[in-house]
Amino acid sequence: MATDIATPPRDGKILADGHNYSTLTEKIGDVVQVEPPKMWYVSFAIGFLLLMGMMHSIAVLLFYGVGIWGINIPVGWGFAIVNFVWWIGIGHAGTLISAILLLMRQRWRMSINRFAEAMTLFAVACAGLFPLLHTGRPWFAYWMLPHPNTMELWPQFRSPLIWDVFAVTTYATVSLLFWFVGLVPDLATLRDRAKNPIARTIYGMLAMGWRGSAVHWQRYETAYVLLAGLATPLVVSVHTVVSFDFAVSLVPGWHTTIFPPYFVAGAIYSGFAMVLSLAIPLRAWYKMQDFITDTHLDYMAKVMLATGLVVAYGYGMEIFIAYYSGNPYERALALNRIEGPYAYMYWMLILCNVIAPQFLWIKSVRYSPVLLFILSIVVNIGMWLERYVIVVISLHRDFLPSSWGMYSGTQWDYMLYAGTIGLFLTLMFLFVRFLPMISIFEMRTLLPEAHAHLHNGHAGNGNAGEQKHSVTATPVKEGS
C-alpha cells in the first residue's frame, strides 16, 4: 500500500493509488479506535470552553430576558437572526454535497459527504437555538407547531415565519435521516472491527443488525437515491423560505425578488467555505490526504468561486435596482449601506465576499491548502457580515427619520455567538472521534477492483490485500 503523505495525489485523482478494501477500511475505520492526534484535544478543548460560555450566556438570558442583548426598536432583529441565517446557510453545503452531487454522479463527493452532512446537522442545531432564544420564552416555542390547545389557536400559515418553522424542522429531520442511513453500513464495519466489547455493543445496536445482504443493499440504494432526490429541492427551498422572512416584508433592502436565489447561492458559498475550513485541518491531523486529495480542495474552491460570483452579482443587482426602480427609500437604503454609519461593515463585506475569492482563479491558490484555509475563513466572516448588513442596516433607518436608531451587539450577543461556534466544534470533534468521518462503504466503490472486472471481465491491479486472507481460509466450520 502506498500511503505516501509527502506527495498527495494531484490533478484529477480522487483516491491515492495502492489502496484496497482492507487498507481503506483500516485507515478510516481505525480513527475511532486509536488515540486521537494531539490537535484533537486542543480543538475539542477550545470548542468545549466556548460551549461553556454559551451555557452561561443562555442561563443569564433566561434569567434576565432578551433585554441583555443589543436589540432595540427599530432594530428588533439583531445578532439572533444574523447568526440564524449564517448557520443555516453553512448547513447547505452538506446537503448539496451529499444529495445534489450524488444525483449528478460526482464521485469525488464520497470522501467529503459524511463530515459535510455532520456539519449540516450541527450547523442546523446551532441555527435553531437563535430563533428559539429570540422568542424570549423558549419554553413556549411549541406554540409555533400546530397542535390542539385550550386557547383554540392555530399558527398563522400565511406568515413566512411559520413557513420557516416547517422548512427548518423538515430540513433538520431529513438531514438526520440521510446522515444516519449513510452511516448504517459503516457502523456495521465498526461493530465487526471493534475490540472493546462496550464499543462493539454500542456500534452493534446502532448498526441494527446490518449484514450487507444483496437484497438489503438494493432497497438501501433505492432509499438513498430517493432521499437524495427529496433533499435536493428541500435544500433549495430552505434558504428560499429563510429569504422570504425578509423578502415578503415591505422594508427597503429586504423587499426584493432577487433574495431567494441570492440567499441560496450565499448559503452554498458559505457552506463550502466551512467544509474547507474543517477539511483542511482534519485531513492534515488525521493524515487523510489519500482520500481528501488536493483535487477535492480544487473542486470545492471552484464551487466557492462560482457561488461567490453569483453572490457578487446579487450585490450588484441590489444597487442597480435601487437606482433603476426610482424608489426613494430603496435609493436611500443603498446609499446608507455605502456611506452610512455602517459603511465599514459593507466595505468589509465587499472585500471578504467579492474581492478575496477572486484569488481562486489562480490554480496555485486552489492547490495551496494554507491559502485556501485562510480564504475560507475570510469568506465565512464575509457571509456573517452580509447578514449583518442585510438585517441591521435595513432596520435601523426605515421610512420615518424620527424612528431611526443605532444597533450594536452586547457582550452577551458575542458570547452566545462564540458559544454556538463552541457547540459546533464540540459536536464536530465528538463526531470525528466516535464515527467514521469518511464514508467507508462508498469509498470501497471507488476502488478499481469494485468495478473493472464486472464490466470488462479483466483482472485489475492492487487486489493483493484482499486475496491475502482467502488463501489461508479454513474450508469448513462444523455447525450444529
Partner: protein, 182 residues
Amino acid sequence: MFTETPPSTPWGLMAEFPTAEALVRAAEKTRDAGYRRIDGYSPFPIEELTDALGHPPSRLPWLVFLGGLAGGLGGYFLQWYTSGTSYPMNAGGRPLHSWVSFIPVTFECTVLGAALTAVFAMLGMNGLPQPYHPVFNVDRFDKASQDGFFLCIRAVDPKFELEGTRSFLNSLGATAVMEVPH
C-alpha cells in the same frame, strides 16, 4: 426457523469468494443450477449481484410516492382547516383559503412524508433492526462488512442437500465453504 427444517441440519451453507466479480459469477451459476433461497453478502452495494440473484426491483419507490402524497395532502388539509375553518382570521384582506401562502408548508410536508417513508419502509422491508441472525454465527462473516464476499444457500431451498450443495459451492471457486448454524 426450526419449524421449517429439522434442527440437525444447518441453517444454510455459506461460501466465501475472493472478489466481487467471483461472487457475481457464482451467484449467476447458483441461480442457473436451480437454487432459489440464496443471498449474497458484500461490503458495498453491487448492482450486478442483485441482478444475478434474480431479485425483482424494489417496490420502495411506490411507497415513497404514497408517503409524499399523504404528507402533501395532510399538510394542505392542516392549513386549509386551521386557517379557513377552525380559526378563520382576516390577514391583510387575503381570502381565508389563500392557497398561494399554503404552498411552502405543503411542499415541506410532502418532502417530510416521503423521506420518513423512504427510511422507515427501507428498514422495515429489510427487517431491521434485527438483533439476531444466523449468518453472524459464521466466524469469518465479520469480513462481510470489510473485505469479504459471501454467498449463502439456505437449507430450506428445495434443491438443498448438504454434501451435494457443499461440493457445488466448492466447484464455483469458493475459497471456503462453511455451515451456518442456527
